[in-house]
């Protein structure tokens, strides 16, 4: 049993993957709560998909994926802004059109024989290819994101609750949006190397959605989401090591499995103890 736990740790690449996943889990768990609470899961997914052509182009050109992803994000944002200006086109239609086009373009580029890492690595991440630079970036992101979320916590809570009246409280809803969008873009960029373009969303949304089901206050929700994100990803990594399956995919599946478990637990407790919510409303 103890070998089951210690065996993977004898390999340096696994230890790096664990450190990287823990750091990303802490950021995704905390940030993901704001994404879920403000109903931005779709934006988070769109953002990740929009940068695929940039990532593939970076792989083709031999420049860092981070740079390609950043350019991809910018192009995606500008395109969504432009398409959104077409009369009689709703914003979410604009987002869908741009994102699917960009994603398709990315896949098309990714199938070119010149792409060194192959499409797989970009879509599903390369958890066992984590470098010291990746870890340093993830650690930097964790420090900055947690500092921002901690300092701004009272304002985020107030604006998230009552966006229409944020002005009356001396806060700007646009500021709220900008802070979340910048943190989300930074987290997506830093996490894409490890988790891949498709799985990064599972890490950002899954743990927060799980925590939403299990808690009734924001700070406990963030603590649970962070724990779930870091714990489930390390568990997924062990699963992949022993079952010899793809690392990123088993991390994502573990996150989803925990969500389903939480959902079942919530349904059972709601069915057996309705008095907490309903009779209190008298």
């Amino acid at each position: 049993m103890i070998e089951w736990l210690t065996d993977p740790l004898s390999q340096r690449i696994v230890v790096r993957a664990i450190v990287e996943l823990t750091l990303l889990g802490v950021v995704s768990g905390a940030l993901g709560c704001w994404i879920v609470l403000s109903g931005r899961s779709y934006s988070a997914e769109s953002l990740a998909h929009a940068m695929l052509p940039g990532l593939v182009a970076a792989a083709l050109l031999g420049v860092p994926l981070l740079l390609g992803g950043a350019v991809g994000l910018l192009v995606g944002a500008v395109l969504i802004g432009l398409v959104g200006r077409v009369p009689r086109l709703d914003d979410d239609v604009a987002v869908s059109v741009v994102i699917t086009s960009l994603f398709g373009l990315g896949v098309l580029l990714g199938l070119a024989p010149e792409v060194p890492a192959g499409l797989n690595g970009i879509l599903f991440g390369d958890l066992l290819g984590i470098t010291d630079l990746d870890i340093a970036l993830a650690a930097g992101l964790a420090v900055v994101a947690l500092a921002v979320l901690t300092v701004l916590h009272p304002s985020l809570v107030a604006v998230g609750f009552d966006r229409l009246n944020a002005r009356a409280l001396g806060r700007s809803p646009v500021g709220f949006d900008v802070v979340l969008a910048v943190l989300l873009a930074a987290a997506t960029l830093v996490a894409v190397q490890a988790l891949g373009n498709l799985l990064v969303v599972a890490m950002l949304v899954g743990p927060a959605a799980t925590a939403r089901l299990l808690t009734r206050r924001i700070v406990p929700m963030m603590v649970v989401a962070t724990t779930v994100a870091a714990g489930a990803s390390v568990a997924g990594l062990y699963l992949s090591y022993h079952a010899k399956v793809a690392a990123g995919a088993s991390v994502a599946l573990t996150l989803v499995a925990l969500y389903v478990l939480a959902l079942v637990a919530r349904v059972i407790t709601d069915a057996s103890g309705p008095q907490t919510a309903r009779t209190a409303r008298a």
């Binding site: 009272p154 009246n165 002005r167 009356a168 806060r171 808690t215």
Partner: protein, 252 residues
């Protein structure tokens, strides 16, 4: 003087006509002003002007040196948000702090006191969405108390409340006015407006402003509500037919 408007108009981007125009009124400490008007008549726009969310497109608007607090319709507040009644009351403290500060122990104490004043001390740790409509409305008043603004705007605070909740809220609002706060309440209820100190009638322009006894004439009511008004046979009085709110009704 808490707010002083002189021929103020406000427009939304892209709109040809101003959303509201010819606003000339004053709000003073201790005065309760009912704002009457149909849906789309400019009540919400007026509130946006007063909270600073919208700037006048013309005219002159003087606002209090302190802050303006807004008590929104509880039917529009988020019931799924994971916060307690105390958390919501504490949000009022945010308006008095720079963005990097956190609420202090004293702020929490203030929030508890405010919940006590609105009669909800025992519900401080209840989840906001689990409270009744009347309780939620009072929590939002507590938030305005923590904000400690001299001018309090209330957006249809009585809509959806049962009679005991409405009486309780009415007493609370009278108390707030008695201690020197100015209140501005958007309402559809003409009878309720008659009981307040002043009325401000809006229908995209200001129709009237003054004490209800002199300002609320039949002509003013007709111009405020247009064709929506139905005369009652023989009594000389008029009523509004049941109107459709632009928003969805939540729980009672």
């Amino acid at each position: 003087m808490l707010a002083d408007a002189d021929d103020v108009a406000a427009s939304y981007p892209g709109a040809v006509m101003p959303a509201v125009a010819s606003l000339t009124f004053a709000a003073r400490a201790g005065e309760r002003t009912a704002v009457l008007g149909p849906n789309g008549g400019g009540k919400t726009t007026l509130f946006r002007l007063l909270t600073g969310e919208l700037s006048p497109s013309s005219g002159r608007l003087a606002l209090p040196a302190g802050r303006v607090a807004l008590v929104p319709q509880t039917e529009r507040s988020r019931l799924d948000y994971p916060v307690s009644a105390l958390d919501v009351a504490l949000m009022g403290a945010v308006s008095r702090m720079p963005w990097w500060r956190r609420p202090s122990r004293a702020d929490r104490e203030l929030a508890r006191e405010a919940l006590g004043r609105v009669g909800l001390a025992d519900r401080a740790s209840a989840t906001f969405g689990d409270l009744s409509g009347g309780q939620r409305q009072r929590v939002l008043v507590a938030r305005a108390l923590v904000q400690d603004a001299p001018l309090v705007l209330l957006d249809e605070p009585f809509s959806g409340l049962d009679a005991p909740s409405a009486e309780r809220l009415d007493a609370l609002l009278n108390e707030l006015a008695a201690e020197g706060r100015g209140l501005l309440m958007a309402t559809h209820d003409i009878e309720q407006a008659r009981a307040w100190d002043l009325v401000l009638c809006l229908n995209r322009v200001q129709i009237a402003f003054g004490p209800p006894a002199s300002a609320l004439t039949l002509e003013v009511i007709e111009r405020t509500y247009g064709t929506a008004l139905v005369p009652l046979d023989g009594s000389g009085r008029t009523v509004l037919p049941p109107h459709h709110h632009a928003h969805e009704h939540g729980r009672p």
